[in-house]
Subunit: 261 residues, 2 copies
DNA sequence: CCTTGACCTTGACCCGAGGTCAGGGTCGAC
DNA sequence: GTCGACCCTGACCTCGGGTCAAGGTCAAGG
């Protein structure tokens, strides 16, 4: 007379796998039942009942460790424990919902989670004659500026927005975008550097694009990461930036120097 | 001239821990940057930019393995991958929400997720003179019946509901509930068994409480698990059940026997 | 020069809730 | 006696890092 069902049947009744039942035994959530002569576990009604109860709690999201410590069903502290689990569950749901919202922004091309104003600036660039690579480079610069100097980012966007309304500045920026294809010793580099420095010095409000961030960062390292982003060493772009900085310094503008604190 | 920032600074900028950055390197999500003379990693703007991008995706719930396989940002398949992740996220949110609902039912004393009718029956028991232990035993029997013979559970509840409207049957059930305190050889056991069997045979509709489940389960094992739940071997309850079954069988009622298939 | 404390290096083990694989024993049916 | 389905134990895998261990490097202060 075989008494009780085997582990496979018990698992099927409770809607779990055999492995799961053994796992519950190992964690002490369900007592190990008697074994028959061949060493198989045999489950009676009490064991099945316990297994179903544990399963109901586990399916409701109660962590297994919690189930092991749970007071008797029906008591007040039992209800309190469940309320605790429910809070935890709600937090997790809120977290995932926030993640999903973030993901939607990311998928909508709201690249790298920049604020709406920055996205608008980037989206206007192709209409002003900039290439897709230019847009990408500008976006990366925005991301870096936001990450490295978050408290100055809004002012930075203010400065860029108003400067781009000046057609002479816009023309200079457009010439600068072409520097990627030049040789470092191209004579146009020095010429453009002179024009840029001259423009900045003639329009102090626009000079703030360069100096505004620096006033906040204090450390040269961050400034250099932003200002010299996407310049390979020894390129025409690097030489252009160095020339402009030198000219501004010569005119008395304070700029961090490589290696200074 | 130290070029680039250290791992701690890069991690702080991206809002992650040092360990996390190294983890990303190990997974190949961010290329290992150059090392300085002392072997420290030095992060330039490109590496920082990449780190921030990876972080944005990870914070949006994209699995790290997915980030590694992700096509270039901006392409159609990139958006498709993100949509995939979003579906996954939504599924998880739905799952957790369902868990929370289940948990609320469990916490509200909606014991073991029985249907409303079963809960109503259990809640009516104390008013009929049953003890808390009796209610618990009945609840466990319900749970077992539901798990072992789900398709017959509704009919079973029908039978129990209508039988309990018969005051003579109710009186018998109340006497049966006291059997837990008796000795197995108590003369009242045989007396009660005779009364129970007589009542079942006189009221075939109520006999279905015993035979209805059996007609569906087919296997003796399941029937015995339900019918003989909460009877320790050698107790008065077990003897009572055996006597009732014997009398019913003698009257021609088909009941599974221990050991039959 | 030496120490102190903060930072960096690699490597190994830990969490939850089981899944999967390996190697072997047992059952009922043919 | 042999097949397929079931059972046994034990060890390793997941995922996104956290934590610990044991040691090297750096800048500042005495």
């Amino acid at each position: 007379m075989m008494i009780g069902v085997t582990i496979g049947q018990a698992a099927a009744f409770a809607g779990v796998t055999v492995k799961t039942v053994r796992h519950y035994h190992k964690l002490g959530l369900v007592a190990e039942p008697e074994r028959d002569s061949s060493g198989y576990r045999r489950y009676g009604s009490a064991a099945l009942s316990r297994l179903v109860g544990v399963r109901a709690l586990a399916a409701a999201g109660v962590p297994l460790a919690e189930i092991g410590r749970l007071p008797d069903s029906g008591t007040a502290s039992f209800a309190a424990s469940l309320a605790d689990v429910e809070r935890h569950l709600t937090d997790r749901i809120d977290e995932l919902t926030a993640q999903r919202d973030t993901l939607r922004r990311l998928a909508r091309g709201d690249h790298a989670l920049l604020p709406a104003r920055a996205v608008a600036l980037l989206e206007g660039m192709p209409g002003l004659g900039f290439s897709a690579d230019d847009v990408t480079a500008a976006q990366e610069s925005f991301v870096l500026a936001k990450v490295l100097v978050p408290e100055g980012f809004d002012d930075y966007l203010d400065n860029v927005e108003s400067a781009l309304k000046d057609p002479r500045f816009l023309a200079l920026v457009q010439r600068s975008a072409e520097v990627g294809g030049w040789e470092p010793d191209d004579p146009r580099v020095a010429e453009l550097a002179a024009d840029l420095a001259g423009h900045y010095l003639a329009h102090p409000a626009q000079l703030k694009i360069v100096t505004g961030l620096q006033a906040r960062t204090e450390t040269a390292t961050r400034y250099r990461l932003i200002a010299h982003h996407s310049e390979g060493p020894g390129t025409a772009a690097a030489r252009l930036a160095a020339l402009v900085e030198a000219k501004l310094r010569a005119a008395g503008v304070q700029l961090p120097r490589p290696g200074s604190p």
